[in-house]
Symmetry: C2
Subunit: 192 residues, 2 copies
DNA sequence: CAGTGGTCTAGACCACCAT
DNA sequence: TGGTGGTCTAGACCACTGT
């Protein structure tokens, strides 16, 4: 397993598991061996193994379930809807050592068109926050991204106009109370 | 610090630091005390502290720099472009215990229009992958998301048509070689 | 109950950065 | 050289799941 220092151990472990998934040795929805057994097999500590597995969770490869085990995330054919599509893209870019940035084309609040209203299930004319961006990798345009979100969902978005305040601050303060109230960030309901 | 079991320790620590940042006790760009000193102050192990700090990195609050220290991430006024806008939104949703999903309206490859071509710096008519989605929180439509990416950037995207293969697999295989080549995922260049 | 993931610790060593 | 983050270990205990 370990040679000198090609990569951090946890990255090597993550790569191994990811390969087993992509090659089909670990089918979608299947359960992984128990952590403590994997530790013995791979010759790594449990902390290291868990760092690797957690990394794969962020990439959408695995999904943990507390008293039951680690499961291979469902493939697109099984899941009805798509969380984190763009996120995976950004992450992949990061792994390729490409710096993902974006150029803002439009950032404004305007009335919702008929189409937009229908898709969002709101009334036409409702104030809608518009954000158009060109996504760049290493400065090279690689994608166009257009986002529409009702202004009433996050009122602060409209006020700050995205030139003075940090986006993180805006979102954080918008959800400040719920954040304080909730307990822990847990995995979603499971149906392996 | 620790009571019975209100929250995991690392989450409590993260909340403490995050509060220091949001209240201004830790200004943007400022350096945090050394890990080992924070451990003494807070009465937690280094592993726990680092889990908390890493969590804040994912939220965009902090930024680590190897031999130098942990720094408070720059605010929007300082950064010229916007990485990870949507990602932060999803994360915030997760912290609010809302389940973010999405409904695919369109997923196809069509020739780029004049506008699209100009924004991406490509020739009109170039095969363009189109993905339109409605983003939902707890099943409630909250945003429209439209993405355009040239088919040649990720050829597999066009082939799989998003009905048979897992998106992760597609992206992973598309960047398979670079992934194998690169070393570790490091923080971006720093200018504290 | 046994098995599993979730959290936490104390300590060690390595790699990077500044001096 | 000394300080800093980055990785890794071995072991412990808690919380959840299913029988």
């Amino acid at each position: 397993m370990r040679s000198d220092h090609p990569d951090p151990l946890w990255l090597q472990v993550a790569a191994l598991v990811a390969e087993d998934v992509s090659t089909g040795r670990l089918g979608a929805g299947s359960r992984l061996p128990a952590e403590r057994e994997l530790c013995l097999r791979l010759g790594v500590s449990r902390v290291t193994l868990r760092k690797a597995l957690s990394h794969l969770v962020e990439e959408g490869v695995l999904r943990p379930s507390h008293g039951r085990g680690w499961y291979v995330a469902a493939t697109s054919s099984e899941r009805k809807d798509w969380p984190n599509r763009l996120e995976s893209f950004s992450e992949t870019a990061a792994r390729m050592n490409l710096t993902p940035t974006s150029r803002v084309l439009r950032s404004s609040v305007d009335p919702a068109t008929l189409d937009e209203a229908e898709e969002l299930g709101i009334a036409p004319g409702t104030p809608l926050f518009h954000l158009d961006r060109v996504r760049l990798l290493e400065g090279i345009p690689t994608a166009i991204d257009r986002t529409r979100v009702p202004a009433h969902v996050a009122p602060a978005l409209a006020e700050t106009d995205f030139t003075t305040g940090s986006l993180y601050d805006v979102l954080a303060s918008a959800g400040a109370e719920p954040v304080r109230a909730e307990a822990t960030i847990e995995a979603q309901a499971s149906t392996p």
